[in-house]
């Protein structure tokens, strides 16, 4: 026996835990550590989809109609892969426009049409209130069963109890308090409630774990195994009939209910709130796309075992909707029963809280506030404290909706099973699909079409699905269901226009959804939208193009004063947030906010901010109140704006490309210029060096000539030496001039080579012979390692000798006075001949290995000369070698000295 106070204590304890979690989440969020910014929490919060209907109702449904309970999970599962396309787009639009409810979303898409918004809000309340009542019924029934352990006379809940004696009533009050505390406490432009979301996610986890636990208990506690359970079930003729497909099985329900749940899934106010408004990062969708279907699969895993267990073990008088609870109770497992109760409590409360929040925002944004703001005497009285009024109406709405649901539960719900109320609710929500989805992907959908579709859909929904329940409740004459209204057979609510072969549910879904769609498309095609609607259609359908340009669109024409706009914001956001928001705007558009007239962008921006707080419709009314002489926006202007926006985007892209191109060519120019500068510098240096090199011998020649002229009585010895010097210096000058000309010929490509097969070894020997005297003078040791049988190279022998002589004379020059050594090697390498000439002189300065081949290469110090030589020799040698398609480089050697390596290709004739 479970004491009533134990159950109450447990319920309160669990509720306190939820409060704590929500409070903690809220605190963390305000401290900047979002717990909700996480794909797992996001996916879990979406599982608010699984209500008490899932928790208790699935088992009930499975016991009556077999696998059909799966249909409402198949729809969302099939849709999940498309979330990236549909859901992401909705999220993008809502974030860009600060849209915080489904009603706002549909109203905004169709030109902020207040009538559409009101309709959506009212239909939502009509569709969802019974569903909330259903949750209350589940909680109340489960509570009663648990406390009274009254298994046999279900429904055990006494609907006649006066409300102040009814524990369910106090539960409703507690839920109202929780919802107000965490759902509508503050006014926020983003309308996000992290504390609440984290509590919802927690509840989703609890209901799943508990349901799995009960499943395991049934399979392994009451039966030997799942196999045993299924085997026993198969032997039961009543059960096996449910799972045998025959022509009696109503397959049409499979299709229509799956389609229904697919259409409705995203548009339940609670689903929209959690999937769109509370979304912190659209990348979370990617993970939720598979996590959420996985959750659905897990929570449905034990539905059949529990249903079979109940049917096999419990008396048939017990309602199958309560098996989750009654199975553990019947077997005296009170702890499990208590947990099962908590699981159901979780499933029900999460749905109630989220729905109440979403509906209250919707009602206040689309119905109450616009009403207050558009009635002159109301506006005069309340406009200055709009923020507190908004909050008050929302809280009031929460109470109103939940109490309405309580009344519905007390008055009507007794007559229906969980299932029928649920399907009717689904069918109501699915009516939003044509307007919402159509508006996302079809620019042609317009406000009149949406309105026509919604009205048609709801009329048929009411007629084919709601009306029969009213008849059943005994309010309307039964003759309607027997002969049709006024005896008109073709208007029979279950066989409209003679369509008789569908089940009542499928029949209702078929007519309401299909005529909704037809009316929406047909009216859209045959009417012209307003310019505002066209503007919105363009924006919604091409959101990925426009999201950053929203403020640029023409939504307003007219002028407003910044001070008025600021005042509006102050009323709703407070002064600090207002200043932050305005500063943000200034930064985004790089403009100074001058007091005085505000431009259209700022008006749009303020409208967007207000939308977040009080809804699009009210925001529009408030903005309109500060706009001076608003003018009608013409169609052409809208198109012009859109074209301009597109042009801006395109030309921005083009501009960026041009800028990049420009940057590239600037870089090229800079490089070329640098090269030219370097060349120019080199040329100047070359001229300076050549003239200097020419002046040096010239100086000697002039000096000696003058000496010889002025001193006729010179000693013979001196005279001869001086004359000799003059001749030598003249030769030096001539040589230099020849080298400069040579180099010019090579560099300009005018040099011609006379190529013949040559023996490199012989040419080297010839060069050494020419320098024989110099080598001997310095007493230099020459080491030759010339490869025998070297193949002939195809080359100009005179030019090669010039190169070798140059390299060898350098080597001789740099050899130390004592112990000088020069080594010469030749070697065949697979496609060429390698010639190496090295000395043991002071070597090449580090870092100059490449530079020494430049003409007139000089060491860094400009004021000092190279030790000896013109400095053109290596430059010419390099040109000659390269003319032969060979290469010349220096190599590091161990110890002092320089090594030059020449590679010459062997060219076959």
């Amino acid at each position: 026996m479970l004491n009533e106070w134990v159950v109450i204590g447990f319920s309160l304890g669990y509720a306190a835990l939820l409060f704590a979690i929500a409070w903690w989440g809220e605190k963390r969020s305000r401290a900047g550590f979002s717990l909700v910014n996480n794909p797992y929490i996001y996916a879990l919060s979406l599982a608010v989809y699984c209500t008490a209907w899932t928790y208790y109702g699935s088992v009930g449904r499975a016991s009556v109609s077999g696998l059909q309970f799966l249909t409402i999970y198949i729809g969302p599962t099939l849709l999940a892969p498309l979330w990236w396309i549909i859901l992401r787009k909705i999220i993008r639009i809502c974030k860009a426009r600060n849209i915080t409810s489904l009603a706002d979303f549909i109203a905004a898409r169709y030109g902020n049409n207040n009538l559409t918004g009101i309709l959506v809000a009212i239909f939502c309340v009509l569709g969802i209130t019974p569903y909330i009542a259903l949750q209350l019924k589940a909680i109340a029934t489960s509570y009663t069963i648990l406390v009274h352990k009254n298994l046999n006379s279900s429904p055990a809940y006494n609907y006649e109890t006066v409300f102040y004696q009814d524990s369910a009533f106090y539960m409703v009050l507690a839920i109202i308090v929780f919802t107000i505390l965490f759902g509508v406490r503050r006014l926020d432009v983003t309308e996000r409630h992290e504390g609440m979301v984290i509590a919802i996610a927690f509840e989703s986890l609890i209901k799943l774990l508990v349901f799995l636990l009960i499943g395991l208990f049934v399979c392994f506690g009451l039966f030997d195994s799942a196999g045993d359970l299924f085997a026993q079930a198969a032997r039961n003729p009543e059960i096996s009939r449910l799972f045998t497909f025959s022509h009696e099985t109503d397959t049409d329900n499979w299709f229509w209910i799956s389609l229904l749940s697919m259409a409705a899934f995203l548009f339940f106010p609670r689903q929209f709130q959690l999937a769109v408004v509370e979304n912190t990062d659209e990348r979370h969708i990617k993970k939720a796309m598979w996590l959420f279907p996985l959750y659905l699969m897990a929570i449905n895993l034990f539905v059949l075992p529990i249903a079979f267990g109940g049917k096999l073990l419990l008396p048939s008088s017990i309602d199958a909707d309560t098996y989750v609870l009654t199975l553990p109770l019947a077997f005296e497992q009170h702890e499990i029963a208590l947990l099962a109760y908590i699981g159901g409590f979780s499933a029900a409360t999460s749905m109630i809280v989220m729905s109440a929040v979403a509906l209250s925002i919707m009602l206040s944004n689309n119905v109450t506030m616009p009403l207050i703001l558009s009635l002159p005497f109301m506006k005069q009285r309340y406009a200055h404290k709009i923020s507190s009024i908004t909050l008050f109406t929302r809280r009031f709405n929460v109470g109103l909706i939940l109490l309405l649901a309580y009344l519905y539960f007390k008055g009507v719900a007794a007559h229906f099973s969980l299932v029928s109320i649920g399907v009717i609710s689904f069918a109501a929500i699915a009516q939003f699909a044509p307007a919402a989805i159509g508006g996302l992907f079809w620019k042609g959908a317009n406000g009149k079409g949406a309105l026509a579709g919604l009205l048609t859909g709801f009329a048929l929904w009411f007629y084919t699905l709601v009306l029969p329940t009213i008849v059943t409740a005994g309010i309307l004459p039964e003759s309607i269901m027997l002969k049709g209204p006024f005896g008109l057979d073709f208007l029979h609510p279950y066989q409209l226009f003679g369509l008789s072969h569908l089940s009542p549910v499928s029949h209702g879904i078929f007519w309401s959804l299909s005529l909704n769609l037809v009316a929406c498309i047909g009216t859209s095609l045959y009417t012209t939208p307003s310019s505002r609607e066209e503007n919105q259609a363009e924006f919604f359908v091409d959101i990925f193009k426009y999201e950053n340009f929203y403020e640029n669109s023409i939504a307003w024409k007219g002028t407003a004063y910044l001070s008025d706009l600021r005042q509006l914001l102050n009323k709703l956001l407070g002064e600090t947030k207002t200043e932050v928001a305005l500063t943000h705007f200034g930064l985004k558009y790089q403009t100074e906010l001058n007091e005085g007239q505000a431009d259209a962008r700022l008006i749009n921006y303020v409208e967007k901010l207000l939308s977040g707080a009080i809804g699009a419709t009210s925001a529009r009314i408030m903005i309109a109140s500060v706009i001076k002489k608003e003018e009608e926006i013409k169609r052409e202007e809208v198109f012009k704006m859109l074209r301009e926006t597109k042009d801006i985007i395109t030309s921005n892209r083009e501009l960026q490309q041009k800028t990049e191109e420009l940057a590239r060519s600037t870089e090229q120019l800079r490089e070329t210029n640098e090269k030219l500068n370097l060349l120019d510098h080199r040329k100047n240096e070359f001229i300076t060096t050549v003239t200097h090199e020419l002046r040096t011998p010239l100086t000697s020649i002039r000096a000696f000539s003058e000496i010889l002229y002025d001193n006729p009585d010179l000693e013979e010895k001196d005279r001869l030496q001086f004359l000799q010097t003059i001749i030598k210096e003249t030769n030096r000058m001539n040589r230099l001039i020849n080298q400069v000309l040579d180099l010019e010929k090579y560099e300009s490509g005018k040099q011609k080579l006379s190529l013949v097969p040559v023996n490199i070894n012989l040419l080297l020997q010839e060069s050494l012979d020419a320098l024989d005297r110099l080598i001997a003078e310095k007493n230099i040791q020459v080491i030759k390692e010339l490869q025998y049988n070297l193949p002939p190279a195809f080359a100009d022998p005179d030019r090669l000798v010039q190169v070798f002589v140059n390299l060898l004379s350098n080597a001789i020059k740099f050899c130390p006075e004592e112990g000088g050594r020069i080594s010469v090697y030749t070697q065949q390498q697979h496609k060429g001949i390698k010639i190496t000439i090295e000395d043991n002189g002071k070597g090449i300065e580090e870092g100059s290995e490449e530079l020494i081949f430049d003409k007139f290469f000089q060491v860094k110090d400009q004021n000092s000369k190279k030790p000896v030589g013109s400095g053109l020799g290596l430059a010419i040698s390099k040109q000659i070698v390269e003319y032969h398609n060979g290469s010349i480089r220096t190599e590091n050697i161990a110890g002092p000295g320089a090594r030059f390596v020449i590679l010459l290709p062997i060219i076959k004739e």
Partner: protein, 129 residues
């Protein structure tokens, strides 16, 4: 200062890295009866300046390691050497290069190729002071 008015033999230091130019200058100075010292680079020149205290230096600019400007500045900035007359003899003939030579403290600047007669005339004049 001490030596300038005494009848001692005038000491001339020749600094250049081109042997043939040294050869010609050596001949010219000896013929005038001056004492001649020869340095083949800036380093040698600095050593000889300290050791021999020449009266006149004929100085090339482009030399390895220590160049003519540096030698000139060194001499003109040390109190006990600054009386030494310096004639720069260089192939550098651009105006700014000549200006640089005078700024380094040179008394005269001759560009190569030079007139032997003019050079001798100026050297004698400096030696007279």
């Amino acid at each position: 200062m001490k030596n300038s008015h005494q009848n001692k033999k005038t000491k001339v230091l020749l600094v250049d890295d081109e042997p043939n130019i040294l050869l010609s200058l050596d001949f010219l100075m000896r013929k005038k009866g001056y004492g001649v010292f020869i340095a083949r680079n800036g380093k040698e020149a600095l050593q000889l300046i300290r050791a021999e205290q020449p009266d006149i230096i004929i100085l090339d600019i482009m030399m390895p390691e220590v160049d003519g400007y540096e030698v000139c500045e060194f001499v003109k900035q040390s109190p006990e050497l600054k009386h030494i007359k310096i004639i720069i003899l260089s192939a550098k003939s651009k105006e700014e290069e000549i200006e640089k030579g005078y700024q380094a403290g040179a008394d005269l600047y001759f560009t190569k190729p030079f007139s032997t007669r003019e050079l001798i005339a100026h050297v004698s004049e400096l030696a007279e002071r």
